[in-house]
Every structure is written in C-alpha cells, then in structure tokens.
C-alpha cells in the first residue's frame, strides 16, 4: 500500500482546547443529524406554556397575583408569573438530553475508542456538556419568542438580560455536568433519562407555578430550601427589571449552581475514569 502514511502524525503534547472544540463540533453535528432531542427541548416548555396560560392561566393568575380578576387579566398575569419558570425548565430539559447522549456514547464503542486515543480526557464529556448548553440557549430564545407572541412584555433592561444569560449558562453548565454523570451511571440508554426526571419535577415543588406561601408547612419548607426556588426567583426578578430581587436570593441561586456543578463534574469525572468491564 503506497498511500500509507508511515510517519506518526500524532503530536505528543496535549491540546485540550482544540480537543474540546472538536468534541463540541461533534455534539452539534449530532444535534443537526438527529434533531429529535432538540425538538423535545423546545416542544416540552412550549406545550406547558400554552397549557398553563390558556387552560389554567385564567384561574391561576387571579390566585398568584392579588387584585387580578380571573379570565383574560388572570392569563396575562400568569404568563408573566410562569415564563421565568419555563425558561428554567428549558435549561433542565437540555440537561436531561445530555444524560441520554452520554449513555449512548458509553454503551456504543465510541467512548472506549476515545479513551484509547491521545486526546485531552476531559474533552469527551465537555463536548457533550457544551453542545447541549448551546442547544439549550437556542431553545431559550425560541421559548422567549413564543412568550412574546403570547403578549409577554418583561421590564428587563440590557444589563438584566445579560445577567439572565449568565444565570442560565451557569445553571445549564451545572445541570449538564450533573446529568452527564447520571447518564454514565445508568445501566442502559433507556434508563438514562429516568434519573434526571427528578430535576424536571423540582420546579413544581418550589416557587415555579404558585407562590411558596400558599403551600402546607412541610412542602413549603422543602420548597424554600431547594435549589430551584432561588434560581426561579432570581430569573423572575431579573426579567422584571430587578424589581423585588434580593441580593441574598441571587447569591443563593449562584451558590447552588456552583455546588451542583462542582459535584456533578467531580462525579462525572470519576465515572469516566472508572474501569468499565469489557
């Protein structure tokens, strides 16, 4: 065979940035080729938005906002109340898809192939985490667009939007690392999406859909101290142009994201390094 390259072209020195970008490109290419997971990312929050505003909103709006009449006025009030929640849920949805994708890589031979190559070891999972973060951010734009079409007019200024982008990027990174670990920890691709489902439930057990102070004591206690409540409240405050946003709540939101992200990263890293019996 004359065409064979005999000299080894592999560079010995690691190039982590190049490898992460290559893996990110792979993740995005997969999203384009298999849009199912991405469509689910947008469709889920969209259906919930329509359902909660046009079906429940007339009644719920009057309940969450004092002095608001049921009906059209209630729907407008509820749209304002739950749009921040559905944006957070969009980010969570992205994270659940990472779990499935990571489990697919681990079940097929491709993750083993990557492990036998002289590449930056962190790039394999980072590519997935960043790829789905990009998808989640794109989905956020579509969900916000839908809310706008339904009449949503938040009072956020340019700086608030920027802070919101930062919050969602941080939340997305944290949840994506956590879900990559859940995906690697699952026994099969089919069960990979089960564990992250708890994350989709948490916004309901917080201030996502109704104010916490309407709940019975035990549920309220949980709702006040779980991570999604400060995140949702911070998003809500930023979208309202900073009105009613307490610094302590924002700090809690960021703190939770950092804690979940670091824990998820450490867990994912140890699972990736763990020997998988061949």
């Amino acid at each position: 065979m004359t065409t064979l390259v005999t000299a080894t072209s592999t560079t010995a020195r690691p190039r982590p940035v190049a490898d992460v970008l290559t893996m990110l490109r792979r993740s995005l290419l997969r999203a384009v080729r298999y849009p199912g997971l991405t469509v689910f990312l947008v469709a889920g929050p969209l259906v919930m938005l329509l359902l909660f505003v046009y079906v429940f909103g007339g009644a719920f709006g009057a309940g969450v906002m004092p002095g608001v009449a049921p009906g059209a006025e209630g729907r407008a009030a509820y749209l304002e109340y739950i749009t921040p929640t559905l944006l957070v849920i969009t980010v969570v949805g992205g994270a659940t898809s990472v779990a499935t994708s990571a489990a697919m890589d681990a079940a097929g031979g491709i993750m083993a192939r990557f492990k036998t190559m002289a590449i930056a070891p962190g790039s394999v999972l980072s590519g997935q985490v960043l790829g789905f973060l990009v998808q989640a951010l794109a989905a956020l734009v579509l969900v916000i667009g839908a809310a706008f079409a339904m009449g949503y007019r938040p009072g956020a200024g340019a700086l608030d939007w920027l802070a919101l982008l930062g919050l969602f990027a941080l939340l997305g990174l944290a949840l994506n690392w956590l879900c990559v670990a859940m995906g690697l920890n699952s026994r099969s691709v089919e069960s990979a999406s089960n564990a992250p489902m708890i994350l989709l439930l948490l916004p309901f057990l917080g201030s996502g859909f109704v104010p916490v102070d309407t709940m019975p004591a035990a549920v309220r206690w949980f709702a006040e101290y779980q991570p999604f409540t400060p995140v949702i409240e911070t998003a809500r405050g930023l979208l309202a142009g900073g009105a009613g946003l307490e610094g302590a709540v924002a700090a809690q939101a960021v703190g939770w994201c950092v804690v979940l992200g670091v824990a998820g990263y450490a867990w994912a890293r140890s699972l990736y390094r763990r020997e998988r019996r061949l």
Partner: protein
Amino acid sequence: MPGNTPAPAIEVAGLRKSFPTRTKKGDHVVLDGVDLVVPTGTVTALLGPNGAGKTTAVGVLSTLLRADAGTVRVAGHDVHDDPGAVRASIGVTGQITAVDDLLTGTENLRLMADLHHLGRAAGRRRTAELLEQFGLTEAAGKPVATYSGGMKRKLDLAMTLVGAPSVVFLDEPTTGLDPRSRRTLWDEVRSLVAGGTTILLTTQYLEEADRLADHVAVLDGGRIVAEGTPAELKSVHDAGSLDDVFLALTEPPTGDGSADDPATSKENVR
C-alpha cells in the same frame, strides 16, 4: 528508545487481572500471569475460547483497563507509567463497533483526523485516502446508521488507522462479517504489516489466525498455554489444522471446576 535493535512492539510479563464478583466471594481471575512478546512488524494472533480473557488482555494493553500485577510495554512505553505515550502510538478496533452512527463516514474520519491534530488539508487527504482504501467512497456522505455491518466494520478499522498507529489491536475484527468483507479486512491487515505496523489480533476463527498470523498464542484459563508459528503448533500437536490444536489445548467452555464460573457468562454475552 535507546539501542539499535528494535525493541519488541509489545512486551507483557506476568500480567494478572481480576474483576470483583457481585457475590463478594473473592475476585474472578481473568488473566493469571500472561507473558507475551510481539516483535515489531509482525502479526500475532491471540486465540482462545469465549471467556478466556482475550478482550481483557487487549483492554489492558490498550490502556482501557489497569493491570493488577505484571509489566506491560507497548511501543516502548509502560502502559501504567506513560499511558499517554502508549495511546499516541496505538490504534484499537474493539469488539463493539466504535463509530458514530449519526455522522457520515466522512465526518467520522474527519473527527478522528481532528483529534489527531492533523490539520485541515492533511485531515481531508487522509480521510479521502482511507475511504478509497476501504471502498467506502460511494457511501462516504451517508449516515453510518444506513451502513451494513461489514461497511461499519471497515469504517471502524479505517478510523483506527487515521493516525497511522505503529501498533494496532484488533479484537475479533471479522466476527459477523461475510466472506468477502473478511477477505478485504485480511488484505488490509497484510498491507499494514507490509508497511511496518505491528498487529495483535484476537480471533475465534482459526483459519484467520492460520492465514494472517506470523505467531499464534493460545490463551486459556487466564494463561498462555501454547505459542509458536501456526506450522509449529500444528506439528507439535500432530494436528492437521489449528482447529485440532485449539480443541486439544483448551478446556470446554462449560468445564467442571475450571476457571470458568457463572460470572463469565456475562463476558461472553458482551
């Protein structure tokens, strides 16, 4: 590497590997002191029944698994002390086809080229070259999910070769392939060796070992029970074919009181 005489591409001494069992009644010993030397530029076939430890051995040699004891050097580097250098010199085609089903053949190969930091032009050249070499040019733009098993296996091997590795591991590369695809793969192996590449392949097809291998090592119960050239093995055991040698040397898979236990059945399935 110091010295003028080329060091063997693979040197394994006293390799041991066990896996914990679920019952916690001690570990399941898979490799029980394996010694193996593969000279540079040759093909060695690792033969053995299901559950003999072939895949585990390839796993340790390719840095996927950590040895419990023994030394393993591949391409002059210790797999434990310098796995990065080993990885830079090897290519692995495992038992499970390691391709990205959602991408096209070209995209899979370019992914490998990018991970080898070949650069855009060289990556494209190498991709086109390998597609041509494996007869995949026509299917190059189609998603791999639409490929037949044989085509996937060829792409799998092509991906392994993108970085022009000096040592190539092939774990049952032709299992499930039709005779024509098998022959194509054999031809590729021969041309690789002609180019100076060292190959360690595992196989259950004894004809494959007979036709391809310079050297055959029979693994059974976690140890190398015989080795030599195919001709040597046949004459020592006064056998007409490697099939007879294989049957004479290895335990039946469901042996009584042999190294096999129910835990191995999991390995067989995988």
